[in-house]
């Protein structure tokens, strides 16, 4: 029973960390139709910034997260203007190649500046101790990740479904030319949603560093994981991303706990099964 509980808690926390990173990718893929394989690269940049701020400069955890998000978004703006803007609406293969190229560049450049070692982001005392929740003690960091995930999911839902910006965004997605003609500044909408997606990647990269450690090949190692999660959930769907992250997080964590020698076997077996049954993902929209 204890094992089941700890697996469940770890799986939930891991799923939430995945969710924070992947939902940004889901947005860019579902709403802007860009297969952004460099998404993990931005999470990695954020991790490096946070690690530098918290460990080398001695700033607080919250400040480090804030700096990481702002820094990553600032870095992403010229990249979006110069590179991504040219591949909106291109065939998938073109987008995949371009974003793999960006990922390689980010990996190479990051290593040139920070070296090939693993970077840690020191947790503050309040997050590194266990908390007693009645039936079990849980690491406070796990709870923090879960809370972050839930806040992000709720916040995004509110933003897309209930605000003015959300209406413009959905209009742009459905028919960019018509939205443009009706006075929606689609370029601005795209730029803002891209910034939000990158900001979420940054948040997820820092918060989830306990599960997905920050190291030089981070962007490449988890690129596939992120892409898989998004396509299983259905690009652009928040509930889909939640379900996919929790399900695949659970499969992965359970597999690692009970049969560690099989590695990622169960994860990818589950992916093939799900994609065969739901070719558009759980909540993907028909094209």
């Amino acid at each position: 029973m204890q094992t089941v509980l700890s697996i469940a808690i770890d799986a939930f926390a891991y799923g939430m960390a995945l969710f924070i990173i992947c939902i940004g990718l889901s947005l860019t893929m579902g709403l802007m139709r860009v297969v952004n394989l460099a998404h993990g690269a931005f999470a990695m940049i954020a991790g490096y910034i946070a690690s530098y701020a918290a460990r080398d400069l001695g700033l607080g955890y919250a400040v480090a997260i804030f700096l990481a998000i702002i820094g990553t978004v600032i870095i992403s703006i010229p990249i979006e203007r110069l590179l991504y803007r040219r591949i909106y609406g291109s065939p998938e293969l073109t987008q995949v190649l371009m974003t793999i190229g960006i990922t390689f560049c980010v990996i190479g450049i990051t290593n040139y500046f920070f070296g090939p070692t693993l970077k840690t982001i020191p947790l503050p005392g309040s997050l590194s101790q266990p908390i007693d929740v009645g039936f079990k003690t849980i690491a406070a960091h796990r709870l923090f990740v879960m809370a972050c995930g839930l806040v992000v999911a709720g916040g995004l839902w509110f933003l897309i479904e209930k605000t003015d910006f959300g209406i413009k965004l959905r209009a742009t997605v459905d028919n960019a030319a018509m939205a443009d003609a009706l006075g929606v500044r689609t370029q601005v909408v795209y730029a803002i949603s891209f910034a939000i997606a990158i900001g979420l990647a940054a948040l997820g990269g820092v918060v989830g560093a306990e599960f997905l450690p920050i190291e030089p090949y981070y962007a490449l190692r988890y690129m596939v994981t992120f892409l898989v999660v998004v396509s299983v959930g259905g690009a652009g769907s928040i509930p889909g991303a939640v379900v996919a992250c929790l399900l695949l997080g659970a499969v992965d964590t359970t597999g690692r706990y009970l049969m560690p020698e099989f590695g990622n076997f169960f994860f990818y077996a589950a992916v093939i099964a799900i994609v065969c049954v739901f070719p558009r993902g759980f909540f993907g929209r028909a094209q």
Binding site: E92, L97, I107, F265, V275, C276
Partner: protein, 326 residues
Amino acid sequence: MSASTDRRWLRDVIGIALIIAAGLAGYWLFPDNLALLTRVIAAALLVLSIDLITGYCGVATLGQASLFGAGAYAAGIACVNGITEPVTLILIGAVAGSVAGLLMGTIMLRAHGLAQLVLSIAIVQLFHEAANKASAYTGGSDGLAGLMVSPLFGMFAFDLWGRTAYLFGLALLVLVFIILKFVVSSPFGMLCRGIKQDPIRIRAMGSFVFPVLLKMFVISGAVAGMGGALAAISTQVVGLDSVSFELSANALVMLVLGGLGSLYGALVGTVIFMGFEHFVSAINPFHWMTMVGALLIAVVLAAPGGLSGLLDRFSASGHRAKRGKA
């Protein structure tokens, strides 16, 4: 009509002669690097196989190494178990690759677009884990070592410098290339290109799309499997990296660099990519990554048809100037 067919024939004969000439030039110019050149040939077969399904059928894949690895492991296991005739080993690799291609095609063709790409990745990762797990047969992460291949035709032993392996590989590559030239210009090849451009219209014309694509997957698997078997024979080791996502992604990059939908492009891309990799990654592997990344971005932005597309554009610009913008 017949004049243009004649010209195409002439072009292909010249092209194949050029490939043989370049291969033999490599043999004379780099006698100390024949092992590397043989690896290039094995990779070229892999890239050709991706070209068949991505370039000619429009099915993007990031998991082609699973077919390459199937051929490599099949040949390796057969060799360890006493079948040491090199031509037989290549055939075993081809059969294993086409069986894997059949399996992969059956799964991948269920989905479209992004889901298809994700499936291809998931398949190569599954193959990787399976090869890792079945260590009794594959040697797991240590790799399958100790392949003792008997002399080719009972006469030419596989020497330490890799001369036999290289010439054998070159002959295999030229043979496969000629066969593929026939395949892609056959009615079947034309149908594949039609499917790439508009599958719905092809269906409306009364052709079945799925079996055609599946057939191409099997052919592509045979080519990739031969590449894997060649790699196994020449290096005498089969490692887990022959069924990795990285190899699949690199091979796709080589193809795109050379030009999708052109068999020559596949060869050119492979040679340039692996040549660069050999020199630059020896200096610093991270600089290599930055360079590949920059190269990819440059190709996507500046030369979407790859190097061969660029060449075509230059040679066709004269015609196009007369006819106006196509």
